[in-house]
C-alpha cells in the first residue's frame, strides 16, 4: 500500500463527522427542551406584564432609564423577544386595551430595539420587522422608526423584505408604501409580483389613494407595475382606472405583461371604451398573448360585435384562443353562433366548442 497516510485524513473526517453527529443529537434534545424553556420564559413575561398593567405608572416613570434599559437588554435577545411576543399575544386576546396602552407607552423602546436588530443578521431583522407588523407598531409614525425599518430592506433576504413590506402595509401610510416601492425600484430588487399584489391588498389605509399614488409612477419596472395593476384588479369595490389604463394599453411601447394585466382588469371592470380595443386584440393573431386574454375578457361584453369576434376567434390557429373564445361564447349564451360553429367545417373549432360545452354541463 502507498505510504501516503490516507488513514489520518479519514480519521480527521471521522472525528468531524462524530462532532456533527453529536451536534445533531444535542439539537434533538434541545428541540425537546426548547418548548419547555420557551413556555417558562413566556410565563415569566406574562407575570411581568401583569405586574406592569396593575401598577399605575406615570408617563415620566414609564420612560425611566432603568426600566427602558432593562427591557431593551432583555428584548434584544431573540429568544426573549420571542417569549415576550408569545406573552403579548396572550394578553392581546385577554386584555387588548392594556396591551395596546403598553405598546403606545413604549414607542421609544421599540425604536431603540429597531436600531439594535438593524445591526444583526437578516434572519433576526426579519423577525423584528414581523413583530412591528404583528402589533401594528408602525402606526406610531415616528419618522426615525420608519427610517430604521427602511434600512432593513438593504442587502437582505426576501423573507426580511417581505416582513418589512407587510409591516409597512400594516402602517396604513400611503407615503411610506410609496417610498418602499421607490426603494425597491432604485435598488433593482426582485420581489415577486404575486407577493407584492397580495401584500398591497392587506394595506390598512386608504387603498384607493394607495392605488392612485402608486400607479402614477410610470417609470417603475414591469414587476412593480404589474403588481399594482393586479392589486387594483382585485380591489373590492373595483375602482375606475379605465381612462388611465386605456391610455397605457394603447401605448405599444408598453411592456406586454403590463398590457396583459390591464386586459384582465377590463375583464372585471366593464368599460364601453375598452370594448373596441378588446375586440381588436381578440382578432389580432400577431400578438397571440393579447388575443388569448382578450378572448376570455370579452365574456363580460355581450353585444353582436363580441359574438362575431368570438365566433372568428374560436377558429383561430392558436389553441388557447380557441379555448377561451369557446368558453366565452358559452358564457354569453350565444346559441346561434355556437350552432354555426358546430355545423361548420372547422373541425378544431367544433371539437373545442363541444368540449367546453361538456365541461360546462359537468
Amino acid at each position: 500500500m502507498s505510504s501516503f497516510p490516507a488513514q489520518y485524513i479519514i480519521f480527521a473526517y471521522l472525528y468531524v463527522s462524530l462532532a456533527l453527529l453529536a451536534f445533531n443529537v444535542l439539537y434533538i434534545l434541545w428541540v425537546r427542551w426548547r418548548g419547555a424553556i420557551q413556555a417558562h420564559q413566556k410565563r415569566r413575561w406574562c407575570k411581568w406584564l401583569k405586574k406592569d398593567f396593575e401598577q399605575i405608572i406615570p408617563a415620566e416613570s414609564a420612560r425611566s432609564r432603568r426600566r427602558q434599559a432593562y427591557l431593551r437588554h432583555r428584548l434584544s435577545h431573540l429568544r426573549q423577544l420571542m417569549a415576550f411576543v408569545a406573552a403579548a399575544e396572550t394578553f392581546e386576546a385577554e386584555e387588548p386595551e392594556k396591551m395596546r396602552a403598553f405598546f403606545d407607552k413604549e414607542d421609544e423602546l421599540f425604536l431603540l430595539l429597531a436600531r439594535d436588530y438593524g445591526r444583526r443578521e437578516s434572519m433576526e431583522k426579519a423577525y423584528y420587522a414581523w413583530v412591528l407588523g404583528r402589533f401594528h407598531l408602525m402606526h406610531l409614525r415616528q419618522t426615525s422608526l420608519m427610517d430604521q425599518v427602511f434600512g432593513y430592506l438593504v442587502n437582505t433576504s426576501i423573507y426580511c423584505r417581505e416582513n418589512v413590506l407587510n409591516t409597512l402595509y400594516a402602517s396604513g401610510s400611503v407615503e411610506v408604501v410609496e417610498k418602499a416601492y421607490q426603494f425597491l425600484q432604485n435598488q433593482s430588487m426582485f420581489h415577486s409580483r404575486k407577493l407584492l399584489s397580495d401584500g398591497l391588498l392587506t394595506f390598512r389605509g386608504d387603498q384607493q389613494l394607495l392605488a392612485q399614488t402608486l400607479w402614477q409612477h410610470r417609470e417603475w419596472n414591469d414587476e412593480l407595475r404589474c403588481s399594482i395593476v393586479q392589486f387594483i384588479t382585485r380591489m373590492d369595490p373595483l375602482p375606475d382606472f379605465s381612462a388611465s389604463f386605456l391610455e397605457t394599453i394603447r401605448n405599444r411601447a408598453e411592456s406586454l405583461e403590463v398590457r396583459l394585466a390591464i386586459i384582465r382588469y377590463f375583464a372585471r371592470f366593464k368599460s364601453e371604451n375598452a370594448l373596441p380595443l378588446l375586440l381588436g386584440y381578440a382578432r389580432e393573431e400577431a400578438q397571440v398573448e393579447m388575443a388569448i386574454v382578450a378572448a376570455s375578457a370579452l365574456r363580460n361584453y355581450p353585444c353582436p360585435e363580441t359574438i362575431d369576434t368570438l365566433t372568428r376567434a374560436v377558429c383561430s390557429t392558436n389553441w388557447y384562443v380557441r379555448a377561451n373564445a369557446a368558453s366565452s361564447l358559452i358564457a354569453l349564451k350565444a346559441e346561434d353562433a355556437m350552432q354555426a360553429v358546430l355545423n361548420g367545417t372547422d373541425r378544431f373549432a367544433r371539437d373545442m366548442l363541444l368540449y367546453q360545452m361538456q365541461k360546462q354541463a359537468q
Binding site: I10, M123, Q358
Partner: protein, 483 residues
C-alpha cells in the same frame, strides 16, 4: 518483471487511494453543507422567516400510471386533500393491462369527454379521456397508447392547463403541505425552472389526514438500507449541489417544472430509462445553450413518500434500471464532460455522476478483485488493508447516520431509540455487505443491454395502509413495458 509488478501495484494502490479519498471528501463536504443548510432553514422557520400565502401559482399534478390498480385510488385520494388553493390532477394511464383507469372512473364517478389535446411535445395518442370535479379539484384520467413513462408525462404536459406542473409517481403519497413547500422557491427567485422535492420511504410512515404521525423503521433490512441511502442522498448530496445550481436529477417521484421551458426544451425523452434525470440535464443544456438565466433548486421541506422495493429481486431490477438510465443520460449529454461552458455543472456534478455513480460499481468490484489477487500473491499487507476497510466502513456509516439525524430539521417527528439501533445496524450492514451486492448488481446491468435497454421490469406493488399496517396485494401480472 518484479519491478513491473511492483510499479503496477503502486499505480493501482494510488488510484484506489485517491478514489476513496476524493469520495470521502465529497461525502464529508456534502453532509456538513447539508447539515448547516437544514439547521439554518429550521431556525429561519422558527423566527418567521418564511413566505406564508393562501395561494401561490396554479399547478397541474401529473401522475403517470402503468398497471397501478393496487395503489392508484389511495394515491389520488391523498392528492385530493392537499392544502393548496388551485391545482388539477391528471392521471395518465399509459396503456395499462389492468383496471387502473376503470377503478378511478368508477370510484370518482367520472364522465367521458372529448377534450382536445394540444400536442406540443410528442406523445402517443389518447384513447379516452374522463373528467370529474372532486372536492373542488379537477381530476382528469387520460388513457393512452403505451409509450412509457416519458411519453405519458408528455401527454400530461400537453393536457395540463396551468403554467407549472408537478410529476409524481402513482405509488407515492404527498403531505398536505408538499405543494405549498415545493412552490415557495419560485416566489423567491424568478429564474427557477425546476424544483426537486425530498423523497422518503413510504413503508416507515403512518399518516393521518395528510399529516405524518409516526415514523418507524421496519424490520426489513433492505427497506432500511434504502431509507439510509435516501437520507444520505437527499439530506446531503443534493443540498451541496444545490449551492451551485448543479443538481443533475430531480426525482421522478416528486418534482416541479415550469411548463413553457420544458415544452421549449422538447419535453421528456421517450427512449431512455432515466427520464427524470434526462429532463433535468436537458434543461441545463437548453438554458445554457440559449443563454437563459435559470436555476434548478432542491427544496428539502417539500416531502413525498414513495414506495421502495422490499425484495432483493425487485431491488435488483430497480437498480439495474437506474444504472442503465444513468448511462444513457450521461452518454447522451457527454458534451457536458469537461466543458467550461457548463462550469461547476461539468466539473463537479457531471464528473461526480460519471466517476462515483456510473463507474463506481466497476471500480469497487475491481478493487475487491485486485485485493484478492494481490493477497493471494502475497503482495498485500492484509492487516492494514483490513483495518483501512473497516475504518472506511465506519466512516461511511458515521456519515450516513449523521445524514439520518439531519432529518430532524425537516421531519418534525420523534426518532425512536429502536430506529437508531436499526439505523446503526443497517449502516454497518450496508458498508460491509450490501453495497458490494448493489455494486455487483449495477455491474451486470449492462449484460444484454442492447436487447433489454428499454425495459422497466415488473415490480411488486404493495398497498401501504397509512394507518399503520401493510397489506400485500396481488403481484402485478403484466408483461414488461417495452418501447
Amino acid at each position: 518483471m518484479y519491478d513491473v509488478v511492483e510499479t503496477l501495484l503502486h499505480v493501482i494502490d494510488t488510484f484506489f487511494l485517491v478514489y476513496l479519498l476524493l469520495y470521502a471528501s465529497y461525502l464529508f463536504i456534502s453532509v456538513v453543507a447539508g447539515g448547516y443548510r437544514l439547521w439554518h432553514r429550521d431556525k429561519m422557520s422558527e423566527v418567521r422567516n418564511e413566505l406564508k400565502h393562501d395561494f401561490y401559482y396554479p399547478i397541474s399534478l401529473l401522475v403517470p400510471a402503468y398497471n397501478e390498480e393496487v395503489t392508484i385510488i389511495q394515491n389520488v385520494e391523498s392528492l385530493l386533500t392537499l392544502d393548496y388553493r388551485l391545482y388539477e390532477i391528471i392521471v395518465i394511464d399509459d396503456g395499462s393491462k389492468d383496471a387502473t383507469s376503470q377503478k378511478l372512473i368508477d370510484h370518482f364517478n367520472m364522465k367521458r369527454t372529448d377534450r382536445p389535446i394540444r400536442r406540443v411535445v410528442s406523445c402517443k395518442p389518447q384513447e379516452s379521456i374522463h373528467e370529474a370535479d372532486v372536492n373542488g379539484v379537477h381530476l382528469t384520467v387520460i388513457k393512452k397508447v403505451n409509450g412509457r413513462k416519458g411519453d405519458a408525462l408528455n401527454m400530461g404536459i400537453n393536457a395540463s392547463q396551468y403554467p407549472w406542473f408537478v410529476c409524481i409517481d402513482a405509488d407515492s403519497v404527498l403531505q398536505r403541505d408538499s405543494l405549498e413547500k415545493i412552490v415557495q422557491p419560485v416566489l423567491e427567485d424568478d429564474s427557477i425552472v425546476a424544483v426537486g422535492g425530498m423523497i422518503h420511504i413510504l413503508q416507515v410512515l403512518e399518516m393521518e389526514n395528510g399529516v405524518p404521525k409516526k415514523y418507524r423503521m421496519p424490520l426489513n433490512p433492505l427497506v432500511n438500507m434504502q431509507v439510509m441511502e435516501y437520507e444520505r442522498s437527499f439530506l446531503a448530496s443534493r443540498i451541496l449541489m444545490d449551492l451551485f445550481n448543479g443538481n443533475l436529477i430531480i426525482s421522478g417521484a416528486f418534482g416541479l417544472f415550469r411548463k413553457d421551458i420544458v415544452m421549449a426544451a422538447g419535453g421528456y425523452d421517450t427512449d431512455t430509462l432515466g427520464e427524470d434525470m434526462e429532463l433535468v440535464v436537458k434543461l441545463h443544456t437548453f438554458c445554457r445553450n440559449n443563454n437563459i438565466r435559470y436555476s434548478i433548486r432542491y427544496e428539502p421541506s417539500a416531502i413525498c413518500w414513495s414506495q421502495a422495493p422490499e425484495s432483493m429481486g425487485d431491488l435488483q431490477k430497480q437498480r439495474k434500471r437506474w444504472h442503465k438510465g444513468l448511462f444513457q443520460c450521461l452518454f447522451k449529454y457527454r458534451q457536458i464532460f469537461c466543458n467550461l461552458n457548463f462550469g461547476l455543472v461539468s466539473f463537479i456534478s457531471y464528473l461526480y455522476y460519471l466517476i462515483y455513480e456510473l463507474l463506481s460499481p466497476f471500480v469497487e468490484v475491481a478493487g475487491l478483485l485486485f485485493t484478492l489477487i494481490f493477497w493471494a500473491a502475497g503482495m498485500l499487507n492484509g492487516a492494514f488493508a483490513l483495518k483501512f476497510l473497516l475504518l472506511y466502513a465506519i466512516y461511511g456509516a458515521c456519515l450516513t447516520i449523521t445524514a439520518f439525524f439531519q432529518r430532524v430539521y425537516t421531519l418534525k417527528m420523534k426518532i425512536h431509540f429502536t430506529d437508531i439501533i436499526k439505523a446503526i445496524f443497517t449502516c454497518i450492514l450496508e458498508s460491509l455487505v450490501l453495497r458490494y451486492f448493489i455494486a455487483f448488481t449495477r455491474t451486470i446491468a449492462f449484460i444484454g443491454y442492447s436487447e433489454k435497454k428499454d425495459q422497466w421490469g415488473t415490480l411488486r406493488r404493495i398497498r401501504h395502509d397509512l394507518s399503520g399496517h401493510s397489506k400485500q396485494e396481488k403481484k402485478n401480472p403484466s408483461a414488461d413495458q417495452k418501447a
